[in-house]
Symmetry: C2
Subunit: 291 residues, 2 copies
């Protein structure tokens, strides 16, 4: 327990982070910096990594025991790769005290929600989340308490999710500096296919295309456009395969945009090319204007 245990402003007495990588570590760091909990626990499969995370001060206690960590927490955030989330949330739910709220950070929501909503023990509530923040870096050593500030977070409850639990989870992300959007799991996956999963595919395809001998001739433009291609392939395989239908639809929509640009270049059609580049710039400018 930390010195801040004397404060009364904590949103939660104990927070448990399952999976202490870049995202889980950043949640722990941000929760600490913003005094959101008296105690911050973490659990992961690698004992030496958990010890290191505890020794670094990121966690009050790092453990390999998920059940124990869950039993001591009021809010549990599962930060494992997408295809492990359901399994870990079941373990957490089976070991939590009544009243515990569970959330996650999974980049796709439909599979997770359809498996978990309505199937967890009485008294424990799962509210699915997706904080839209990340980094191509991996490991809690890169944990950044400001990773979430000013970013959107999507929560995707269903009709049966108690309002109180939704509000507690929303309040947690807002306390990390995020602005929270709410939609259905289905809508989330359809939208994120376009705004997050498509960019990853686009960026990886560009990085794949570069000939090794042309590397010295790249500059900031190439580097920015391929930044997210540096992400961990294992994490992205899970995301891309768990939302494949919507992603294929987005790739096909994108391919049409690309074909229109190609056609304007082939035809030396300055007017059409200007229209297309300006359409893109309009979205760019809207995203980069002050909020």
């Amino acid at each position: 327990m930390t010195e801040s245990s004397t404060q009364n402003s904590h949103l939660f007495k104990t927070i448990g982070v399952i999976g202490v990588g870049l995202l889980g570590g950043s949640i722990a760091a941000a929760a600490r910096q913003r005094h959101l909990a008296e105690t911050i626990l973490g659990a992961g499969r690698n004992p030496s990594r958990m010890r290191a995370a505890q020794q670094s001060g990121l966690l009050d206690r790092g453990s390999t025991n998920i059940a124990e960590t869950a039993a001591q927490s009021d809010l549990v955030i599962v930060c494992t790769p997408v295809n492990n989330i359901v399994q870990f949330i079941r373990i957490v739910a089976q070991n939590s005290r009544p009243g515990t709220v569970i959330t996650d950070v999974g980049s796709t929501k439909q599979k997770i929600c359809s498996e978990l909503y309505g199937s967890l023990p009485e008294g424990v509530t799962f509210v699915a989340s997706h904080p839209l923040a990340g980094s191509e870096k991996a490991g809690f050593e890169f944990a950044d308490p400001e990773l979430f500030a000013g970013r959107p977070c999507v929560v995707t409850p269903d009709d049966q999710t108690p309002d109180e639990a939704i509000e507690r989870v929303k309040g947690f992300w807002e306390a990390l500096g995020m602005h929270v959007l709410q939609t259905t799991p289905e809508n989330h996956d359809r939208i994120l296919a376009e705004t997050s999963h498509l960019p990853h595919v686009i960026s990886s395809a560009l990085a794949m295309t570069l000939s090794e001998e042309n590397r010295p001739f790249t500059s900031t433009g190439f580097r920015d456009t391929t930044r997210i291609a540096g992400g961990d392939p294992s994490i992205w395989i899970d995301i891309l395969l768990s939302n494949s239908d919507a992603i294929i639809e987005s790739i096909d929509k994108y391919t049409q945009s690309l074909a229109r640009l190609r056609e304007a270049i082939v035809n030396q059609d300055e007017k059409q090319l200007r229209q297309l580049l300006e359409d893109g710039k309009k979205n760019h400018d809207a995203l980069n204007s002050a909020p």
Copy 2:
């Protein structure tokens, strides 16, 4: 003339910048900061803009008279949009003193070089350049003296270009902090189609694809991947149309990369998807490792 006129370390007595926008302005700012010339002149078509650039201290004199600016300069750098460069270099060459070296910053080189090499007045030398540095911002107000530091610059002379002039131009870019690569205009355009023009097309196509109602669901990944789509459409129309053959070839190579990713997702082929994402990550990591 500035106080630094007493120094003997100047590479050039007088530098003339034709076209004082983001790039031209950054060249002036970098040359000033690094004491590369006694006097820095600038010329552009808009009198009030030239006055403002002079008043800001970026230029020792801002003028609308290209001929006069050329006549007073030892090195002239033409920083206008690609499809004006030939025309302005002809004006510069006709008004320069013997011994003057002229270069440019055009993003495509084949058309410029084939029109200019061997066709300029005796005693004046043109050595084509392409500093791989830029910004999606426009205007000398965003001039950045560090824009060029650590970036590549490609110079594309031909067999007839005097070595001395090549060395002077290389020395100028190196003094701005760039590392200089040399190749033919044809190779330059083929390579840059892949490393610079393709990323712009890719990025614009992604920005075009975003539905307006999905804007709130974007985060840093989408924003980084579409950063260069914020570039001035007029500048990019010139680039894309003046190097269209090589760019179409690059788009087609890219489309194949994208199709392979799409196929792996459709087939839920984890092994193949991992291979492709890792191919991309390999290039990403190579570009982002310490030089």
